[in-house]
């Protein structure tokens, strides 16, 4: 284990992340027999989450005729499927809506980037008949959590990382690995493991820039990795929360073809045209979550 990995994991409690409840709720929701009362009890242990959830349910987005005043009511009205993505969205905002100086991201930018990646992941999941589009949403949202932890090291060694990118013609995350001994993907996956993320989400975080390695490692859900890989690329080229690492990442054509896309210039443009029409929905979610 490199010193940086050791230091980050040692100080993991200081990271501004609180995915504990969201993961617990997500796992409970996977069990179809779970009761609304049980779920509400778990949510209720986090006062801030409960308040934000109720505010969101009462926002214009939903337009419910009757005011929703309890968590139980919110779950019943939203349904289990939407509930999962909303809980993750709220929790991720409190973790991601901050400045990530090491990657040149002002406050709110990594959050916008994560939300758009989440939307694009869900869109691609639906387009490719992936079994669980909500899982894709969550994976797209969380794939860059490693940046929160690695940013100060990236900031200190930025010149060396960029030199490695330019001189050796390697993507940014490989240059992180080479210079710091660990990439934001790798440290993100180690943290996700610590926070008891399901293995398929850990894999999506770890391999979102290198889906061919997921294949080689025998990951259970390479479709999910492929979806997040393409969604991440689309979010970047469309400029949502683009940082100092720019677009120094490759798009793996084999991975994209693995999703069933027949890759031509025209198909790529049609995909972008369609996905860009989601931008109102993305802006609305960003403005409605407190």
């Amino acid at each position: 284990m490199t010193k940086i990995i050791h230091d980050i994991l040692e100080r993991e409690d200081n990271l501004p992340c609180n995915f504990h409840i969201a993961i617990q709720v997500s796992k409970m929701l996977d069990d179809f027999n779970v009761s609304i009362d049980k779920l509400a009890k778990v949510i209720g242990t986090d006062q801030a989450l409960s308040v934000k959830l109720l505010k969101y349910c009462n926002s214009a987005e939903y337009g419910f005729s009757r005011k929703i005043s309890t968590v139980n009511d919110a779950i019943a009205r939203l349904g289990f499927k939407s509930f999962k993505t909303i809980v993750f969205t709220i929790v991720s905002k409190s973790s991601l809506n901050r400045e990530i100086r090491g990657y040149g991201l002002k406050s709110g930018e990594i959050w916008k980037n994560s939300i758009s990646c989440a939307f694009y992941s869900r869109y691609l999941a639906e387009l490719t008949d992936y079994v669980d589009p909500d899982q894709a949403f969550t994976a797209g949202m969380l794939r860059d959590i490693g940046k929160l932890a690695l940013q100060e090291y990236v900031e200190n060694d930025f010149k060396n990382i960029i030199n490695a990118v330019n001189n050796e013609k390697i993507p940014f995350f490989k240059a992180e690995e080479k210079t710091l001994g660990v990439s934001h993907c790798h440290i993100g996956a180690l943290l996700a493991e610590r926070w008891s993320f399901p293995q398929v989400l850990v894999d999506a975080v770890k391999y979102h820039h290198c889906p061919e390695e997921a294949q080689r490692a025998g990951c259970e859900d390479t479709d999910l990795v492929n979806i997040v890989h393409l969604a991440d690329y689309l979010a970047l080229i469309l400029g949502y929360g683009i940082g100092t690492d720019g677009i120094m990442y490759e798009l793996d054509m084999t991975s994209v073809e693995g999703l069933g896309f027949n890759l031509t210039c025209e198909n790529m443009e049609l995909l972008i045209a369609d996905i860009a029409n989601n931008s109102n929905e993305i802006e609305s979610l960003i403005s409605n979550i407190e």
């Binding site: 040149g104 469309l238 940082g243 720019g246 890759l263």
Partner: protein
């Protein structure tokens, strides 16, 4: 100064002094700023695709200004119809990141390169030229245009904003 964010697939036009038009987060998309030095009319487009003809029915698209061919002629046409004169127009463009691929077939994802080419073509077809351009590479950009002074600014992510 009030900023108007020109989101992707949008065009904006203003004659109000004190407005700054800005295209946030240009990746492979291209921002085009246009300024009429006499009437002080300022326009901006945030283009993300080269050509609307990929669609069978381009008119059905809810955001037609995302295509270079539609956005450039719409913005310039609108400015000219409102009294701007070609000889007074200053056109500057930024964005269009290159595909960061060292393997084969990178042309497929070189949307940025195709966008830049299409924007140049559309501008030239209108009988205009580009006064300044900052395109390609792998860094994100933000383009700004001050409607009062006609000053353009470019921020390359990770660097300081500079007059452009």
């Amino acid at each position: 100064m009030r900023e108007i964010r020109v989101k992707m697939g949008e065009i904006e036009l203003t004659t109000i002094p004190g407005i700054v038009l800005t295209t946030p987060g240009l990746g492979s998309g291209v921002g085009m700023g246009v300024y009429d030095r006499k009437s002080r009319m300022a326009g901006m487009a945030h283009i993300i695709l080269p050509d609307s003809k990929i669609l069978q029915d381009p008119e059905e698209d809810e955001r037609p200004y995302k295509y270079a061919d539609v956005a450039v002629s719409a913005l310039l046409g609108k400015m000219l119809s409102l009294g701007a004169k070609k000889e007074n127009l200053v056109v500057k463009i930024a964005g269009g990141i290159d595909a960061f691929n060292f393997k084969e077939n990178s042309e497929i994802i070189n949307i940025g390169g195709r966008n830049v080419k299409a924007v140049y073509n559309a501008i030239n077809e209108m009988g205009l030229t580009v006064a300044n351009a900052d395109t390609g590479g792998s860094s994100g950009r933000i383009l700004k245009l001050n409607a009062l002074s006609g000053a353009f600014y470019l921020k390359i992510i990770g660097k300081k904003e500079a007059e452009f």
